[in-house]
Symmetry: C2
Subunit: 343 residues, 2 copies
């Protein structure tokens, strides 16, 4: 073991954003870790390799008294994220030095973590995926897509699926699972480049730029038989337009409402459609559904091994660039899963 | 058979209301039926005994091009309603003169109806209920209450149920079924008299007047453990307040949104609760669920025969008073089921 002090760059939660977060809501600091200091029992020192950034984290950047499904980040402490890391030191009976693990670690080079922060050891001999796949293709967003579409959407071949934020981490998987299941898949995104990606690379049946022209007219044009499943990532005005175009007995897995996280919420005025069309809206948090992880893993093995399943990530290098990457994520500047590579 | 002409007072759909319906949107006419004119095959002449008025009918008073779950009433023709009537003449193999039947007939003294307009013959020897019970206690609103609460709400003893429009035709049954199933039942209504009725007569655990004071504060006060099931009859601002008070994994059977039927719809701004709290919203139309009628009938027999189940109706006499009664119904002037007695 080297004697030198380990230099650990961390991103701290500096202030609760007013509206969209800015860089001043974060604080990048470098602290020293003494590699000879004793780890408490059941604790480990993890070196992060990959860190996942996700829109839900905006909801955690709040004052602690506001209730939500995930606890608030602590002001002055590092933000946390799903991550893949390597065990550098271990005072745990469950994990050894050199293990590569999936868990919930700091936005930092290193995390001193309780063993409970680790979700699982990654068996690289059994699952031959690149490590970042565990945060992406096999990660929380894909499990989210699978659970929402399959278990709530209950798709039947021939039905029409509309997915908003379709080029996002969840959306692109939703659409591709939909195609595998025989659905007509329509998606929207915020740039023409993403739209092209959806139709040309992901083979969606149709896609359009929600910023161009009349959203509802465009959606209607691309869903001539109406919408049976709306995989909801956006909320607000999009939800309102979709409600008018849903078919009877339609299902809406409510995964996210990214348009509603920053600033003023939009009032949805046509919820009466829920009655007349017998619609189901079911909110869900993927964290409740890790019991289906084996089923999901099997499905992914069967359906992605032939190379027909496309997964794109936006990789930013260096912990110190995480705030900028996260701000960009909330503005839709990424394509697909946003990762930080610890260099 | 008498030779005299039968005088038939009918209420016609005269004009599409702008906002709340007024009496000029209806037209009361008296036409003659020649009792000797030949009935077409499978048709019957029905004398109405009881007619049910329901808020959903407002939605049918529209121009025919607007989609909804029930077809538009036809301008210049009688409005129609669930009704109990007696067969006066029959050219049907299924029903005989003298049969008392439940069906969908005109707002009128008499209807010439196809046998398909009849839902069932009422066996008065087997089911010893007063005839109007088939439109009330055993009628569509109670089946609505039962289906929504039991099949969508999936109540567990000890949970908290909130029901809006609780003194209405559906609401009063929802609350009482809830009490039988061991729920804490909280309701709201629009007058202090109705509130008293809910707590004193129907034995709700709590009730309040939604027009007095801060709605959300009142509701919060009466639901100290939060809300597990919201039986939604009102929509709009009430739904918005309730969403903030729902417990995790809460269920919202969406039965009606009476606040949204007339004029400007309210925009619900906090649907993000659906995600964080993993809420279910499920719209339903009772007409889809008549397959559970036997189950429902058995439950009602078991639970209402001891007299502990209270059912109230507002009875208006005379077909010609139906428009006024219907307008009053939409304004909440009735208590419980609104019926017209044909005299």
């Amino acid at each position: 073991m080297a004697i030198e002090t380990i230099s650990n760059t961390q991103v701290l939660f500096n202030s609760v954003p007013v509206g969209e977060p800015t860089e001043t809501d974060f604080k990048v600091v470098t602290v020293a870790i003494n590699p000879q200091s004793h780890l408490q029992e059941n604790f480990l020192l993890i070196k992060n390799l990959w860190i996942s950034l996700d829109p839900y984290m905006r909801g955690r950047m709040r004052n602690p008294e506001k209730g939500s499904y995930s606890s608030a980040f602590e002001l002055g402490k590092p933000l946390t994220a799903g991550a893949v890391g390597e065990v550098i030191q271990s005072n745990s009976k469950l994990y050894n030095v050199g293990d590569v693990v999936l868990g919930h670690f700091d936005w930092a080079n290193y995390t001193v973590a309780h063993e409970k922060a680790i979700q699982q050891k990654i068996d690289q001999s059994k699952y031959k995926f690149p490590l970042e796949a565990w945060l992406g293709l096999l990660g929380m967003p894909s499990l989210t897509a699978y659970y929402g579409l399959v278990h709530i959407g209950k798709p039947k071949a021939g039905e029409t699926l509309y997915v908003s934020a379709a080029a996002g981490a969840v959306g692109q998987v939703v659409g591709q699972i939909g195609k595998k299941l025989g659905l007509r898949v329509v998606g929207s995104a915020g740039t023409d480049e993403k739209v092209k990606y959806l139709t040309e690379t992901l083979k969606f049946d149709a896609a359009f730029n929600y910023k161009n022209g009349d959203f509802k007219e465009n959606l209607k044009k691309f869903t001539p038989s109406g919408i049976d499943i709306y995989f909801e990532n956006v909320g607000g005005e999009q939800l309102e337009a979709v409600l008018d175009l849903m078919n009877e007995n339609g299902r809406i897995p409510v995964c996210g409402m990214i348009s509603q996280y920053n600033g003023a919420a939009y009032g949805v005025k046509n919820l009466f459609n829920v009655i007349g069309k017998r619609l189901l809206l079911q909110g869900f948090i993927v964290g409740d559904h890790y019991n289906i992880f084996p089923e999901f893993l099997n499905w992914m093995m069967e359906n992605t091994s032939d190379g027909s399943f496309f997964y794109e990530t936006t990789i930013s290098e260096g912990i110190e660039n995480a705030p900028k990457a996260f701000i960009g994520l909330l503005k839709g500047e990424n394509t697909g899963k946003q990762l930080i590579k610890n260099i």
